[in-house]
């Protein structure tokens, strides 16, 4: 208690707040970009646009992950659900020629059900989130492979006589993959921003979001205050599943195919983004604003390393180091 007070006196609050700590990491990375600009590449908007595009799918997963982590949980299944919905999206639009809105609704429903079921297991049967979502991760991957027959679902459609015929790419793929605002922004980035906005509204403007924070902060106190803990957990994991489906649709559109092997280890990138932003894995604290900073930090880091032609080996090593550094920076509280 006492040293908390003295620390407050030593440093003004705006320096020690989670937001400024997270921003500090982002600024450090950004300054690195200004220094190692790869012959001016970093000064071009196109670089930033491509960074945003590259990070969007991960960022969409990070939105759902933020909600889940705030309830003191974790969701390992987002990458697999992404693959499953990517496969389903490609299958329904390319092969079955469903109208795009029906395909989208279907994929969102599948994602939401996958996540919601994890949440049900966690709330109703008190299975640890790690285990429940690990099971979902394996299961959803299996379904993706089963539905796709282990093949990438692409525009090469097998005919009854065994030959392949190429069909045209559905319009919805082109639309999601397009650049807008005079080519200055990609649609997937707009989708990412929409996901952040939706999660932000849920977390800060709706009762359910308040309950998520309370459950993560002290589940027992929440139960005794009449908070409907199980439905809220189903909602949090369901939203994570829903966003995984959004990410799956984007991924399929970007790759022009549904790959059952897609999204492997994406959950780890999403968790890293949330954690670098400063949302605590203990739950009860965190915000979408912090996650946005985390998304940008990782996005810029990867981009800067890639425009400077740093090999993947060193890129991975550096990313590991930066994650630890960013978390340590937020630690001494």
């Amino acid at each position: 208690m006492a040293d908390k007070l003295t620390q407050k006196n030593r440093m003004p609050e705006w320096i020690t707040s989670p937001t400024s700590r997270a921003l500090a990491a982002l600024i450090v990375v950004f300054v690195l970009g200004l220094l190692f600009h790869a012959e001016g590449a970093f000064y071009k908007w196109g670089t930033h646009r491509d960074m945003l595009r590259a990070v969007s799918v991960y960022g969409i997963l990070a939105c759902g992950m933020t909600l889940v982590i705030i309830t003191a949980g974790i969701d390992l299944s987002v990458g697999s659900v992404l693959a499953l919905t990517a496969v389903l999206f490609a299958l329904t639009t390319i092969h079955w020629q469903w109208p795009f809105w029906l395909a989208i609704l279907f994929c969102l429903a599948v994602g939401g059900v996958c996540g919601g079921f994890s949440g049900y297991l966690i709330g109703r049967f008190r299975i640890q989130p790690f285990i429940a979502t690990l099971a979902m991760m394996v299961f959803a991957r299996g379904v993706a492979k089963w539905v796709s027959g282990g093949q990438k679902i692409s525009t090469a459609v097998q005919q009854p006589d065994g030959t392949y015929q190429y069909v045209s790419v559905p319009d919805i793929f082109t639309l999601i993959n397009a650049k807008i605002f005079g080519g200055n922004l990609t649609v997937v980035t707009v989708i990412l921003l929409a996901c952040i906005l939706i999660s932000w509204i849920l977390l800060t403007r709706l009762r359910q979001g308040r309950y998520m924070l309370a459950i993560g902060g002290n589940e027992q106190a929440a139960v005794l205050s009449g908070v409907p803990v199980n439905p809220i957990k189903i909602l949090a994991y369901g939203m994570a599943g829903l966003f995984s489906a959004v990410a799956g649709i984007c991924q399929a559109s970007q790759e022009l195919q549904g790959d059952p092997e897609a999204g492997v280890a994406y959950e780890l990138s999403a968790i890293a983004m949330v954690v670098i932003g400063g949302t605590s894995l203990q739950g009860g604290r965190g915000s979408l604003w912090l996650t946005l900073i985390g998304i940008l930090t990782i996005g810029y880091l990867e981009k800067i390393l890639s425009i400077n032609a740093v090999g993947e080996d060193k890129r991975l090593m550096l990313t590991g180091v930066i994650i630890i550094a960013a978390v340590l920076l937020q630690k001494n509280k």
């Binding site: 709706l206 009762r207 924070l213 139960v223 009449g226 409907p228 009860g284």
Partner: protein
């Protein structure tokens, strides 16, 4: 005779609060020495000092004639002291012998010698007259046998001072008998036993000497023959009642809360119910005090009727004459119940969140029609309530963990008052709260009863209980053992009922089982 253990001039404070003042205690070989006192008298603190849990005390401890100072639990165990806490410190998934030798496994070139340890474990258990499979996992044993394993573990440390903190609270009658046999054997071996108990019958069954603490001070030591029950009780509670309490009795209305035959089953596998067929009623505007020492089940009774235990509860509940099911806390809150728990940090508050969020948590639907939060309305209502409670805080958006105990408690009270409760269940509402805030909480209780709210009050502070309650029920081992009208009760009569003494003239529903 040389003493096994002598503790003298023991002082101990937690921050500014002095919990032990000039306390002494000694222990002879081959004796059972009862350490008696109400909740919060300082018994557990004294034993934790002996056990090395609190190394920062002042005073002297001598083992034999040798002065010692325990800096850690290991120090104390090395000195031959073994403390068996109420919550047993065994690793459930490990076997009996593994638990006995935990942390001191016998090994040769770090290769564990299982056979040797098993044999030694069997020998230790045989010494206690016990025969059990040493390879069974401890979690598969009934509580009574687990306790025997703890005692065997103590013996394996060559402990000659064995402290038992309410060892019988979870035991069945035959298990208690077995425990007492073992205590007799330990006495024969020359061990000294410090025994903390809240059960009168037990105390006189095994005591050689009794030492009484009250409010952190030493009251006296006497042999059991020379300290009859009434004198013991007088020692435990014989304080002057000079505090001013502002209870204004309000006009009593109709019966608000009517509980009949409420039973809370024990934890999984334990046949002893926490609350056993309790019936009670509270009128509108009435404060009913629910007295009871640790383990009496009074706190569990409140949780039971609030729905915390869900399906472990049986019995029926009426609010304002209408039968209501006991389901879960959310349902209870809707039906007008509110429970202030006795541990605000672990069950009352979300410490990392701010004042407003905590104060509105139990009635959030009120401030979020169709799910959308109305932060302004929420803040206005909360700040209004908190003004009535005279909360002192820099801003309503500061996290509750930065508030003092008294102000934290006011946030919890605000949370419950905003649900417009018909029945308030208050479990230790003034615990860890400064004097000023205590007075304010008493005033609030008066206001609330005047508004017709029915209150059940649990408090381990006897003067508070006597002054604030319009009626007092006393619990012991899950039963109500006595009922007093306002003014009839004294500290002595309450305590003796809480210790399980049966006295003439009291309504007595306690039966031995």
């Amino acid at each position: 005779m040389t003493m096994l253990l002598t503790m003298k001039d023991i002082y101990k404070s937690f921050g500014p609060v002095r919990v032990l003042e000039d306390v002494r205690f000694d222990l002879r070989p081959s004796e059972v020495h009862i350490l008696a006192g109400e909740n919060g008298a300082g018994k557990s603190t004294l034993m934790k000092i002996l056990g090395g849990v609190y190394p920062d005390y002042s005073g002297t401890i001598e083992l034999g004639q040798k002065p010692v100072r325990f800096k850690s639990v290991q120090d104390s165990a090395g000195g031959g002291i073994s403390i068996i806490y109420q919550e047993l410190s065994l690793v459930g998934s490990l076997s009996v012998y593994e638990n006995i030798f935990l942390g001191r496994e016998r090994h040769r070139f770090s290769w564990i010698e299982r056979t040797g340890m098993k044999n030694e474990a069997r020998r230790l258990l045989a010494e206690l007259g016990l025969c059990m499979d040493v390879e069974t996992a401890v979690e598969d044993l009934p509580i009574g046998q687990q306790q025997m394993v703890e005692i065997a573990k103590a013996l394996s440390y060559q402990a000659h001072v064995i402290v038992m903190d309410e060892p019988t609270s979870a035991l069945t009658e035959p298990e208690v008998k077995k425990l007492f046999e073992i205590i007799a054997r330990l006495k024969q071996k020359g061990c000294g036993i410090v025994y903390i108990s809240h059960k009168m019958e037990e105390i006189y069954q095994i005591a050689d000497r009794i030492t009484v603490l009250r409010d952190g001070r030493y009251i006296g030591t006497e042999t059991a023959e020379n300290l009859p029950a009434d004198k013991l009780i007088h020692w435990m509670v014989g304080r002057q009642l000079n505090q001013q309490f502002p209870r204004h009795q309000s006009r009593l209305g109709d019966v608000r809360l009517d509980v009949s035959n409420l039973t809370v089953a024990g934890e999984a596998g334990n046949p002893i119910p926490l609350v056993d067929g309790v019936s009670l009623h509270v009128r509108a505007g009435e404060i009913v005090g629910l007295a009871g020492l640790q383990g009496s089940g009074n706190s569990q009774l409140l949780h039971g009727l609030f729905g915390t235990f869900g399906k472990r509860v049986s019995g029926s509940l009426k609010i304002d004459g209408r039968p209501v099911p006991i389901t879960h806390p959310a349902g209870s809150i809707q039906r007008g119940l509110a429970l202030l728990t006795n541990d605000r940090k672990s069950t009352g508050l979300v410490l990392g969140r701010d004042i407003v969020e905590n104060a509105s948590l139990a009635c959030l639907p009120k401030f979020s029609p169709a799910g959308w939060l109305r932060p302004k309305a929420e803040k206005r209502a909360v700040s209004q309530t908190l003004q009535q409670l005279r909360l002192k805080a820099e801003s309503l958006s500061q996290p509750v963990e930065s508030l003092s105990g008294g102000n934290q408690q006011k946030v919890v009270l605000a949370k419950w008052i905003q649900t417009d409760p018909r029945v308030l269940l208050l479990d230790e509402p003034t615990r860890g709260v400064d004097v000023g805030a205590k007075q304010e909480i008493y005033e609030l209780m008066n206001q609330w009863t005047q508004a017709g709210i029915a209150i059940i009050l649990i408090t381990s502070e006897m003067p508070e209980l006597l002054a604030m309650s319009d009626r007092i029920l006393v619990m012991h081992r899950g039963h109500i053992t006595a009922e007093f009208e306002s003014g009839q009760a004294t500290q002595e009569t309450i305590l003796s009922a809480a210790l399980g003494e049966t006295t003439k003239g009291m309504r007595n529903t306690w039966r031995t089982n």
